[in-house]
Amino acid sequence: MQQGKLCNRIPVETKDKLKEILGDKGGIQYYKEMESLEVDVPALKDLLKRTLKSRLKTWLNSCMRCGLCADSCFLYIANDKDPKQVPSYKIQSTLGELVRRKGEVDTQFMMHCMDVAWAQCTCCNRCTMYCPMGIDTGVMFSYLRGILFSQGFVPWEMKIGSGMHRVYRAQMDITTEDWVDTCEWMEEETEEEWPGLKIPVDKENADIIYTVNAREAKHYPEDLADAAILFHLAGENWTVPSEGWEETSLAMFAGDWEAAKLQVKSVYSAIERLKPKRMVVTECGHAYRATVTEGPYWAGIKSGKPPVDSLHYVEWVAEALRTGKLKIDPAKRIKEPVTFQDSCNYIRNAGLADDARYIMSQIAEDFREMKPNREHNYCCGGGGGLNGIGRYRQERNIGLKVKRDQILETGAKLVISPCHNCWDALRDLEEVYKIGIRWSFLKPILIKMVVVPDHLKLSAE
């Protein structure tokens, strides 16, 4: 069966292979090869047989085709109610068709499935809430992505992302050394202003193990410094692991379940090694989803729970504010109108809406809800990996319209977004539509307004 040099059924597992595929800028050769990538039908049939169980079968067969899910999908709205963007249609014409044909499909069909699975669904799961039959189209698309990955029909960036996890146990090429260096560097940078501040690496039995998004390590190391300052101010006994520090999972977006498992296992083994009491995850939605919500299942943990109680950053902040570990200076609260981007991954799919509201009530004087909000909020527009895929830039930009209008309606110019993906989408939204908004993670906002306890103040000049 014909396979390409770059586009094939073999996952990227070495640095050389990574370099090779990265060298194909924009995936031009990659997608060209895909056009003649043959489908391994027997393997596909076998995969369906092993993994398509009653839940998915029922979802496919018991769809009443009532169309009630239509309006729930932000992509349907953004595309002027195109019937082809109805969740049920999208999944029935791809996974549904594939199953009806019992896996006897060709290259062209698989490429079509890829284009729908990554450009027409961000796996935000909003439609699930509106389906009388309880059908979760987002989960089905995630399943379809797994099938497509196994056959090599995966967007170029996703193939690279999953390869990164396989090679570096991180979504980017960051080695253990790079990471530890970054921690030390940030410790030095902040120590001056915050005497006694440490970024403890591999400390055993800490109260908190803190894990991050590789982008912070690579592109925004200040975020790590900010986290350190806030832990320092809250008096937390915390640590970061030298290995197993990466929470995110492009492997999950890619449908590479093997790599997803390797990735979360690296975090879990850091937990087992360092025996912290709890884990706190940085301001990233899909990272939390991957490592806390879904990860235990990939790793085969029967209880469905990570090895220790794990908190998203908003949970930790809410807790610190509630218990008084962190105190806000009321005079410094945000005065201007401000809104909050509810991330699907830890709000809809992890129930943290109240914590986010509590934080906003503490830090802002004029907090304005988007409509709809909380669990019903729309995807930012760039979820499920869509932000990062060049091939679908146009589709992504169209999708951003819904968030744009939601924000405009609040009248706020500042959007708090404790999620990397949403943060990126907001940045791109501003770049494309120029509506004059600013956006921010929680950490920099908090640092500006928390009360510094006397004993931690820089001794008076």
Binding site: K53, S54, A70, P83, Y89, M129, Y130, H376
Partner: protein, 225 residues
């Protein structure tokens, strides 16, 4: 003829219906897989069960969910259809007579007028559903011939009953047509989308548990469907 279709044939239809439904449920439960579905069905049983009940309950109550509230017209049609379709055959006096006479089972019966109104409701609602399928673009695009077929299949027993009850045309003909179409419906349930009679509950329990056990149910006050 009448003896046969209300005797052995009815028996057969009911057997296929009940066995088919039972098999659907059994296969559904057997096919659940903690790792593939990524739900620890056996842990957090309390929040799982609570969420499952909520997930069914809110969706059974008219306007109980945000989806129902956002689509008031559809919701009315939907409930008119389903309430009539479920309640009428179960509590019709003519049915309870047959049940008692044939098998000695006692079923309470409702006044015939009520049954008549409910039946008319089913017919009106079915027209509404059909029109919606044909006129609303996003629904038309989803509709397959099977969907229309299933709709006719489920409405036929009501239409024929209505004709017979109001003695429009040949009563014997409509009665026989009613019995046969009712039996056809029962037989069709396990083999068509009509299996949602039981799979609705399976699926809603499952997704309720999903959100209750894994996706936030433990950390929030219950999923706001």
């Amino acid at each position: 003829m009448y003896q046969f279709i209300t005797g052995p044939l009815l028996w057969l239809s009911f057997s296929i219906f009940f066995i088919g439904c039972f098999v659907h449920v059994a296969l559904y439960i057997r096919g659940l897989d903690f790792q593939l579905d990524r739900i620890a069905y056996n842990t957090n049983i309390v929040s799982g069960v609570k969420a499952a009940l909520r997930s069914i309950g809110l969706w059974l109550v008219p306007f109980g969910t945000r989806c129902w509230r956002q689509n008031p017209v559809y919701t009315l049609i939907f409930y008119l259809f389903h309430v009539g379709a479920v309640v009428t055959p179960l509590f019709l006096s003519a049915h309870s007579v047959i049940l008692k006479y044939r098998w000695g089972i006692y079923m309470p019966a409702m006044p015939d007028v009520v049954a008549d109104v409910l039946t008319a409701g089913v017919l009106v609602a079915a027209c509404g559903l059909l029109l919606r399928r044909m006129l609303v673009p996003e629904v038309r695009n989803l509709t397959t011939p099977r969907d229309i077929g299933v709709l006719f299949l489920s409405v036929a027993p009501f239409a024929t009953a209505f004709m017979a009850y109001h003695q429009i045309g040949d009563v014997t003909f409509w009665t026989i047509a009613h019995i046969l179409s009712g039996e056809l419906f029962l037989v069709a349930v396990p083999f068509t989308k009509l299996s949602h009679i039981v799979l609705f509950f399976c699926s809603r329990i499952q997704i309720g548990m999903d959100f209750g056990i894994k996706r936030g149910g433990v950390k929030s006050s219950g999923f706001p469907w």
